[in-house]
Amino acid sequence: MPEVLKAPLVVEFPFTRSLGPVQSAFLTGLRARVVLGVRTGDGRVLVPPVEYDPVTAEEIRDLTEVAPTGTVTTWAWNHAPRRGQPLTTPFAWVLVRLDGADTALLHALDAPGPDAVHTGMRVRVRWAEQRTGAITDIACFEPYDGDPAGTAGHTGAFEDPVTGIVAPARLDYTYAPGRAQTAYLDALSGRRTVGERCPECRKVYIPPRGACPTCGVATSEQVEVGPRGTVTTFCVVNIKAKNLDIEVPYVYAHIALDGAGLALHGRIGGIPYDEVRMGLRVEPVWTESARHPDHYRPTGEPDADYDTYKELL
């Protein structure tokens, strides 16, 4: 069995999210160094504030300022901070009930070590220097030895409120394609196209994924197909894709390689785009050090008869 293939795979998105009125006020408040809660129908103050009462589902909009000081309700010492977390040096995760609030907010506490942290300890907000209207406008909490800080009674009305956030997210994976696709990719590196045959229905899958989706059984018998094949259907691409150095218009086609039980797709070159047709016989064109055929070009053979590929459309 060939060596298992692996490759780094980074999945990264900047998620753009709009905010409801309560979230908008809360995050705008953080930008202005004001912490807002929301009052529920029974008079409890929720921090961080939500748009709907978690018990009654009632819409709640009654914003009220709470103090930037509070009490730790539980904590956990994180000696090895991970990417994206609020501090890069060891810190405590804390739930903090701010003075004036009835619920607790999750954040980080900058403390010298776990012996300096306990449930019930007093803390205060340390504001980030650059604030944009995000939960990270609170840089972290820090120990605080004092009475509840006063508030100015802010009502949550701001000029120029924050209406959205952009939250970057990145996860780093190690992609491994598994047995069947590893074998396929290994063969491709020798410019051979090798599929797998279903032991029940005898169909040859290109590329193989390890299972016959019709029969639900493992495919294992390896079958070399091609290199020549037949265009079963195609489209003309008229819009240039970003970062793709191919002149438009060009033809993208489904190609049934000889011996394959289904078509794969590829670009057709070496022929004017308006002369490509169903049944056109093609062969792969490799470029130096490429891992896949760059495109397919006409072989010059007579077109394939429709009956030979109609089941592969």
């Binding site: 929720l46 956990a76 994180n78 991970r82 995760w93 776990p114 939960i135 598994g178 994924r209 639900g216």
Partner: protein, 354 residues
């Protein structure tokens, strides 16, 4: 409001699972899953064409593979087109959907499966992506950190201390010695703090795996299984997403689901609890009022094998399998989802008198 009484008797008639492993990079997800599907079908003699409804649970985030559940479906053999559904949740919730489908009478048999490959990704970070995207996810609080906050809260109440947590870890993994599918089959050192107060021993192993069960109704179940595990009740409940809104030392959603499932009507002899972290088992035992006479996690539980998205379904499967082989007459199975036991499912399974 009371639930309408079930019109049909529905049972778990077969269960299969992989040997759960730390890493399985020589197999794609469907390659890992397919042998389990074949095994569970073989146990009943059914073929794909005999299955009226198929439902699966998985998450593309785990392995970073978009639409992996559609590729996994290749292992089922979904042709001619089958009646099929998927939940982006633990397979226990797929089982719940299948149970409701059978209740309607639209189906007599159902295949439920779940799989998860945690090995390709940074699973502690991956799980942050299920959190509130406005106030919590931007801080990247990983799954161990959140469980540690819950554990410390429990310790603060006096209901547990570190030795008590270590005892939970040891007992589960000693139980797993009898479970050839488990990833950790013996006691392991508690180790260093991962996020204090949780040590490595308090946390589940990271691993890859899959599981499948077959459900059947009424006489069909009796024909497929010598001793079906009848689902006497099943319910699931969720708590607020705000961690600071909840009492992390209690699990009211588990208690309510258990009440609705009829768990408190009569004692159970066995409980399979989906508690990935030691402190969570203590929270669940209290919420479920489990006495010392109940055999808890004879399989070793999630501390012995934790293929995410399948670990809850495995609790249902293990409880059912124990009834199948006559080792239990009435068992409780529990599954959880979300941070700090946010959402919980409870099922009560019974075998007919022997």
């Amino acid at each position: 409001m009371t639930s309408a009484p079930p019109h049909r008797e529905i049972a778990v008639v077969a269960f299969a699972q992989t040997v759960h492993r730390r890493i399985s990079d020589e197999l794609s997800e469907v390659e890992m899953l397919m042998p389990v599907l074949h095994e569970v079908l073989d146990r009943t003699g059914l073929k794909t064409a005999d299955i009226d409804f198929t439902c699966s649970g998985s998450s593309d985030y785990l392995a970073g593979r978009a639409f992996s559940f559609t590729l996994a479906l290749d292992g089922v053999g979904a042709w001619p087109p089958i009646s099929e559904s998927h939940v982006e949740m633990d397979g226990a919730w797929a089982l719940y959907e299948a149970w409701t489908k059978l209740l309607t009478g639209d189906a007599d048999t159902a295949l439920v499966y779940a799989y998860g490959k945690s090995s390709p990704g940074p699973v502690r970070d991956v799980l942050t992506r299920q959190l509130d995207p406005y106030y919590v996810a931007p801080l990247w609080p990983d799954s161990v950190a959140l469980a540690a906050l819950q554990a410390q809260a429990l310790i603060d109440t006096g209901a547990a201390d570190e030795p008590a947590l270590a005892a939970v870890a040891a007992r589960n993994r000693e139980n797993a010695a009898a479970n050839p599918h488990a990833q950790l089959r013996h006691r392991v050192p508690q180790g260093d703090y991962l996020v204090r107060p949780l040590r490595t021993g308090d946390c589940p192993p990271i691993g890859d795996g899959a599981a499948a069960v077959i459900l059947a109704a009424g006489d069909r179940a009796r024909a497929l299984c010598a001793r079906p595990a009848w689902i006497r009740g099943i319910d699931h409940r969720i708590e607020a997403h705000g961690l600071g809104v909840r009492d992390l030392t209690d699990s009211p959603s588990t208690r309510l689901a258990a009440e609705r499932a009829g768990a408190f009507a009569r004692p159970v002899d066995t409980a399979e609890l989906h508690a990935p972290f030691t402190a969570q088992e203590i929270v669940l035992r209290r919420a479920l009022r489990l006495g010392d006479d109940v055999t808890v996690n004879p399989s070793g539980g999630a501390l012995a094998a934790h293929p995410i998205m399948a670990a809850g379904l495995i609790r249902l499967g293990e409880a059912a399998a124990r009834i199948h082989r006559g080792a239990s007459d009435r068992a409780l199975a529990h599954a959880t989802s979300g941070p700090c036991l946010q959402q919980n499912l409870v099922a009560v399974l019974e075998g007919e008198p022997r």
